[in-house]
Symmetry: C2
Subunit: 213 residues, 2 copies
DNA sequence: TCTCCTTTGTGAACTGTGTTCATTTAATAA
DNA sequence: TTATTAAATGAACACAGTTCACAAAGGAGA
């Protein structure tokens, strides 16, 4: 059935060049960074990309698909941002506490500098009813793995299962503090407040693990 | 200027009885519990309340105002739910760890039993750009106060400022774990997983505080 | 070169939702 | 009863997602 003659190809109007999709995606990404989810209107995106509404739908399915794709990119950047922060810090692997705090600071920085994209990530994943899509979970695991690796030399966390659970629990805790503190207008210095609270929880956890070895 | 003659009053069609507003609010609340934010359409709410769209706007301003009001109620119920859980547990005030875990379990239970309302609370507050409204912050402080009180007898947390920061940090951590774990389909028993992670973080924090006294 | 023919791109039109406001309704005062 | 006034109503408007009949753009065959 798929054995159609190949000599007749490229009939009819040629499809949009592949790079057009990339350009449109980049345009939509810029819009998201500037205006958050508010900017993600079919017509706005089309205008920004220099395409018709119909083409946006041809290229991306629907607007939610497009947002998912942009969020995917944001999440990749997020993970990469953490990896680079860890590398730049150049701390000895034995400095577990310091390295976890480097990751936490990287998180806070990302939220600060990429606020609109980060909010889109949160808001949209929450909007969906069911489970997160597969590729999303993949990047998430990738990020957890980073924390697990950092915890590896920690005294008291030699057990792999315990270390993994610790990484998940700690990282969720860090996330919680960031989510609660950073957008809260009642703190005059939200970043310092968040970092302080993270320090308290992470510090206690690592000390306690070493203690109860 | 306010000294208008009072003998001419109640002219024209009488306004909707005050109880009508309460009934409409209750109807909208039921709708929210059933269908989440998806159900919060002007026409759906109006039909459910047996009123016209216009009346909904007269009574509540706009739909966002109405949702804010419902979220306010949810948040009150949330705080009350925690108070009652603490009371029912009837633990001695010295059992700090146990009492914090009672609060955490209460949180998890609320999310489970009142899922739609809880999600509305999260999603909507995140949707708003600026700071949370005043009354909202009030209930939040009320809830933090509960945690602060529970932490009061904890060894190592005698200092008031430290205790308050600990309460905020710990509660945000608990929130983070719940937000990350409970809706995650990859755990076969999300509630147990969440409670386990919370136990780890809370336990470590309290032990460490006692240790480094 | 000039028609067909096919495939893609376009944007007007349709649907659903928030919001308003001219009109209708229901009450009191005279 | 009638005039007057305020409230309730829902048709109409604005705006956003989505579709699809039609126009545009190229290749194939004459």
């Amino acid at each position: 059935m798929t054995d159609v003659q190949d000599k007749h190809r490229a009939r009819g109007r040629p499809a949009l060049a592949p790079e057009v999709r990339d350009q449109a995606l980049a345009a939509a990404g810029a819009l998201l960074a500037e205006q958050g989810l508010n900017g993600m209107k079919a017509r706005t995106i089309a205008a920004r990309a220099g395409l018709s509404v119909g083409s946006i739908y041809k290229l991306f399915g629907d607007i939610d698909d497009l947002i998912r794709e942009l969020n995917m990119i944001t999440y990749r950047d997020f993970a990469e941002h953490h990896r680079q922060a860890l590398e730049r810090a150049g701390l000895d692997r034995s400095k577990v506490h310091g390295r976890v705090m480097v990751l936490a600071k990287a998180y806070v920085d990302f939220v600060t500098t990429e606020n609109a994209r980060w909010r889109a990530l949160l808001a949209f994943n929450r909007r969906q009813g069911g489970a997160a899509p597969q590729y999303y979970t993949d990047v998430e695991d990738e990020l957890f793995q980073l924390v697990i690796d950092v915890l590896e030399p920690a005294p008291g966390l030699e057990d792999v299962a315990l270390r993994e659970t610790s990484a998940r629990a700690l990282w969720a805790a860090v996330h919680g503090i960031i989510v609660v503190v950073l957008p809260n207008a009642s703190y005059d210095n939200p970043v310092a407040t968040a970092m302080n609270q993270i320090e308290m929880v992470v510090g206690a956890y690592i000390r306690d693990a070493a203690q109860s070895r």
